[in-house]
Subunit: 332 residues, 2 copies
Amino acid sequence: MRIALDAMGGDYAPGPIVQGAVEAVRNLNGTEVVLVGDRARIEPVLAECGGVSGGLDIFHCTQTVGMDESPVEALRRKRDNSISRCWELMASGQVTALVSAGSTGAVVAAGLFQKRFLAGVKRPGIAVVLPTATGPCVMLDVGANMAAKPEHLFQYGVMGSLYAQHILKIDEPTIALMNVGTEEQKGNELAKETHTLFDSSHLKDRFLGNIEGRDIYKGTAHVIVCDGFVGNVVLKVCEGLVELVLNHSAEEMLARLPRDQHATARSAFDALIRRYDYSQYGGAPLLGIDGICIICHGASGASAIRNAIRVAGTFAQHHINDLIVGELKCRS
Amino acid sequence: MRIALDAMGGDYAPGPIVQGAVEAVRNLNGTEVVLVGDRARIEPVLAECGGVSGGLDIFHCTQTVGMDESPVEALRRKRDNSISRCWELMASGQVTALVSAGSTGAVVAAGLFQKRFLAGVKRPGIAVVLPTATGPCVMLDVGANMAAKPEHLFQYGVMGSLYAQHILKIDEPTIALMNVGTEEQKGNELAKETHTLFDSSHLKDRFLGNIEGRDIYKGTAHVIVCDGFVGNVVLKVCEGLVELVLNHSAEEMLARLPRDQHATARSAFDALIRRYDYSQYGGAPLLGIDGICIICHGASGASAIRNAIRVAGTFAQHHINDLIVGELKCRS
């Protein structure tokens, strides 16, 4: 399978991005990667990595969308940017999937510009896999859709569920609606109407109803649906808070323990950082588009990129998009 | 000052609630508390606490709103519930403030039924004080208003700011809008319009613009405004996540450290739990009502209740409500 990789996207691009591509091509059978970006910056990294015998191409382009730029404006102004080029390669069938650790807003906006939604899908959504006390769960949307309607959230339930089933290998995944309380009549209008939609749908047996913020990490549900504003805020709160709490824990612990125990304490914190590191799950898919788009964290290292490329491959092998179209068609 | 305390509200009521009242009356000069609830359940606790010489009354009522009941329904069905009685005591001027660790939904609903908003206030909001890396910050609304409009969020900025200034003693508090990115045009319609309102207001010099979820705990802003749905979800995510991360940290640490270091490790975690314990800040005020209402966490112990009673007193001494009315009047 051939995958376009935005070599210029990410806080440390192109270094770890290119390195991740090299690792993927070396380790994942049948994977070919097109590195999209500035040839002059990509080639030295490739040389450093020792190169590979085939499976890696460069698609040269001259521009990059910065992490702090307004996505829509940047995409309009910089026609030869690496993100748009990745989408174009997918639209023209030259690649099956794209992976980017660049500006999430720009990746989504470039995708939405093309209006290549899957048949029956009203609005694509970004799904993120989170570690919980009982295993991974999928939360969506985390930032693609700022004006969600009940039917969008319902479709996120359908799509997230198929993702959980085929990528995370969860049989009969349960679905819950992010809300401010567990009673049925809780929440804003969007939440109330979405609850009613699920309750009268073919998913009703797997729909657990509302869950609260504190339930996410308990692993109460396998799929959590919410609008993109709430999901994005929640995701970033989690990220910030895990970091802060772990830092404070390390501080308190090291201040109290004798010096000869410091190495042990540090190894415990390294294990914790790995436990909460969602890059292990290989990036966040933009579900509902006609194609495969995996969005990685800006701070992605080589292993996160390699995992994202692996997930893109699994996504294709399991024909997730066909399953989405099929399920939405049956039920509409 | 005389304060109505919902003796029946809270996961462990009436025990720690009554105990908190006793401690407040003993330690806070000029504080009188009316314990609102079932006399037969309150009196034994009072006897256990050793009692006080004056300053404590019981207002007997027969019903309690359960934590899991639908607030609106419960308030209609149980006319003699302790929460409504607290509000009635305040409405009739028999007390200056009320404190409850009962169902937040019921406390807010009972207050909104009375429609006793401060002059100029469109919708009250619940403000919560959170610990950050640089000191406390105020976030509001965290659950009173499920259909927020831009002008509500703007007023939350005004009210939260006065609270930060006079209760948390922060000079010139900065204000930020919870959003999905820092650029001005980010977010949903509510966020974009609210941004414009702040930018063209008398608060513009203290308005930092948008912040993201990860900035809350960094202490980027002193006052964070958001709609009640987002605020409530975020608050509960934080609660759940801090608990989970600290538990996991303790597990990893104890599994690795030799037995003779376990007591030291536990003392570090106790210090961390205190650091993230927001009961130290004395409950969440429902800002914008004509009166003083402090909502405590359901799991509140005696010290959280005592702190909430203290904050209610400070709130009255600083005439926060007059300041709110004054500022909204000047600027309307």
